[in-house]
């Protein structure tokens, strides 16, 4: 293997992203790739589903205890492992990747179940400046979009993006809308948005490339508390329709 290629997992058919060609995560094999010398990124294959995410939670719990790992950070059907200290050699790195693959293969779903938190949402209007873009992309009406968005109970898959922000699973694919070509400089905390096949609620003001369709009020993060985030993987969010501004 070339010294300069990103180190990869043990060879498999339809192997990892670090091999040549095409979009990553085709086929059925997980992918392990580098984030510099700071972290490893493990990406599970297949559909974004709760059962797969529960295996990610299980993998996170196990790898958090490894001496090389500073923090195991679940994402959407993926897991980032930040290094306490990077493995000293390429060989040590490959060994770690192999151990990670094996741990995934053996990982059983961790059926975390927390609370259901209900958030009142005003859809559309000034708090939902991109509702029209979702209408244009999906071909659905505002009421249909509100119905599809507010019906499910969304499991919290992971936290990320900014303090207290929850990545949610379970969004109806009919309202999926790609991330914006030009991100918005600042959307406020409480903004309810759709990015690709995912939905989420901003926990504080900041830039976003997602499509904001409504707004809610809730405190998601308090650094003085332990844990500082109000929600965690396994909790669930339900959006209650407080109003729709057309």
């Amino acid at each position: 293997m070339s010294r300069r290629a990103a180190p990869k997992a043990a060879p498999k058919a339809n192997s990892t992203a670090a091999e040549g060609g095409g979009a990553p995560r085709e086929g059925s094999a997980p992918s392990v790739s580098l984030l510099g010398t700071t972290a490893l990124l493990f990406e599970a294959p297949g559909e974004l589903a709760l059962a797969s995410q529960q295996r990610i939670w299980s993998l996170a719990r196990e790898t958090q205890a490894w001496p090389e790992v500073r923090e195991a950070v679940p994402g959407m059907n993926n897991l980032m492992l930040t290094f306490e200290r990077p493995p000293r050699s390429a060989e040590a790195l490959y060994a770690l990747e192999a151990r990670l693959q094996a741990a995934w293969d053996a990982a059983l779903p961790l059926p975390l179940e927390g609370r259901v938190v209900e958030l009142p949402v005003v859809y559309g209007g000034e708090g939902g400046p991109h509702m029209a873009d979702v209408v244009a992309h999906t071909g659905l009406s505002v009421d249909e979009i509100v119905e599809l968005h507010s019906t499910p109970v969304y499991p919290v898959y992971a936290l990320g993006s900014h303090p207290g922000y929850c990545y949610l699973g379970g969004m109806d694919p009919r309202i999926a809308t790609p991330r914006r070509k030009v991100p918005v400089l600042s959307i406020p905390g409480g903004a309810v948005s759709i990015g690709g096949a995912q939905t989420g609620v901003s926990a504080s003001a900041g830039p976003s490339g997602w499509n904001t369709i409504g707004s809610t009020t809730m405190s998601f993060f308090d650094p003085a508390q332990d844990p500082p985030a109000k929600l965690q993987p396994g909790d669930m969010i339900r959006f209650r329709v407080q109003g729709v501004i057309r």
Binding site: R4, P24, S33, M76, T82, A90, G160, G196, A203, P228
Partner: protein, 330 residues
């Protein structure tokens, strides 16, 4: 006590960063030039992780209301204590009533963009989630979770205490040079989506000079150069990222995620600037150009070793000097 006299200077209190809170969506923050922070702290006999003031916009002025030793590292900004010019990368003694003025970063090949003002004992602000760095999004940590404003008063843990001063360091920009064809360079490890970019784009990335545009800050550096084209559109799931990750949005103009970047993202990743070279990026001025060098895992680890060896040498020499007898009469 130190009082800030400048407004709108975007200065923030930073240490080496907040580690271990990524799982709650809290990025690391921390000094953009981690080497300047560590070295300034070592000059003062501080812990390398003590909090300091990062100054990205100049001029910047503050007044010491108590005797306090301080070190200035990072960009050489023609600093003055009252009227007296100060040597850069040096530890000095301030007396109550004196004004410190940081001027514009000095030109030349070594021109930097951020100064680190380290104080004896470190800046005295509370630790939040294990760090004194400022978390701007969410507004906590550092000084009240925000940039410093005129009238803000900071305390140094070691103000009023005696400290060995009046010496300095050869800056790492001179000791650890890295350039390609005379242009400052940083090393990059390819990331997961690297093979998903066209061959010509990949070649252009390594061969080209990239300009750091004015839309660059602690969140990210937006680069201007040849557009990087994917072989096929890549829509990604949200996943963890770290400072140094080079994202490529639809425009094809890459963005290097920096210290205040979100800890997760969904854009395709071309590569990651290695941790050992992030301090070089942290000093690259707006409008300057950089080159990228493809490196291997072993080379990246060796680069980190080199940085740590430099810090070890500094620590040894400074500790020796700080404990040596003072010359008579001085």
């Amino acid at each position: 006590m130190i009082e800030v006299l400048s407004s709108a200077a975007l200065a923030t209190v930073q240490d080496q960063g907040r580690k271990g809170s990524l799982r709650w969506g809290v990025g690391t923050a921390g000094a953009m030039d981690n080497l300047a922070l560590a070295a300034g702290n070592l000059l003062l006999g501080n812990d390398a992780n003590a909090a300091a003031v990062e100054v990205p916009v100049f001029p910047f002025k503050l007044r010491f209301d108590a005797d306090c030793a301080f070190a200035l590292t990072g960009a050489d900004c023609a600093a003055r204590l009252d009227e007296a010019p100060l040597l850069p990368w040096w530890v000095h003694q301030a007396h109550a009533g004196q004004t410190l003025t940081l001027g514009l970063p000095q030109g030349g090949a070594q021109r930097g963009s951020r100064a680190m003002l380290c104080l004896a004992g470190g800046v005295d602000v509370p630790e939040v989630l294990g760090s004194r760095s400022t978390q701007l999004r969410g507004a906590f940590g550092g000084h009240e979770g925000r940039a410093l404003r005129r009238g803000d008063v900071l305390r140094a843990v070691g103000e009023g205490q005696s400290c060995r001063t009046g010496f300095g360091l050869v800056p790492p920009g001179l000791s650890l040079p890295l350039q390609v064809d005379g242009v400052p360079a940083v090393r990059v490890l390819p990331a997961a989506e690297y093979p998903g970019f066209e061959e010509a784009s990949r070649a252009a990335f390594w061969a080209g000079e990239w300009k750091i545009t004015a839309q660059s800050d602690r969140y990210g550096y937006r680069l201007d150069g040849e557009a990087l084209r994917p072989i096929a559109p890549m829509e990604m799931r949200s996943h963890g990222i770290v400072p140094g990750v080079i994202q490529v949005p639809h425009s094809g103009q890459p963005i290097i995620q920096m210290r205040d970047a979100q800890p997760s993202g969904g854009y395709p990743k071309f590569g990651t600037v290695i941790e050992a070279d992030l301090w070089r990026l942290g000093q690259a001025p707006i409008g300057s150009r950089i080159r990228f060098i493809e490196c291997s895992w072993d080379e990246a680890v060796a680069a980190q070793d080199e940085v740590e060896a430099w810090l070890d040498r500094v620590r040894r020499m400074v500790d020796l000097h700080r404990s040596s007898p003072r010359p008579g009469g001085r």
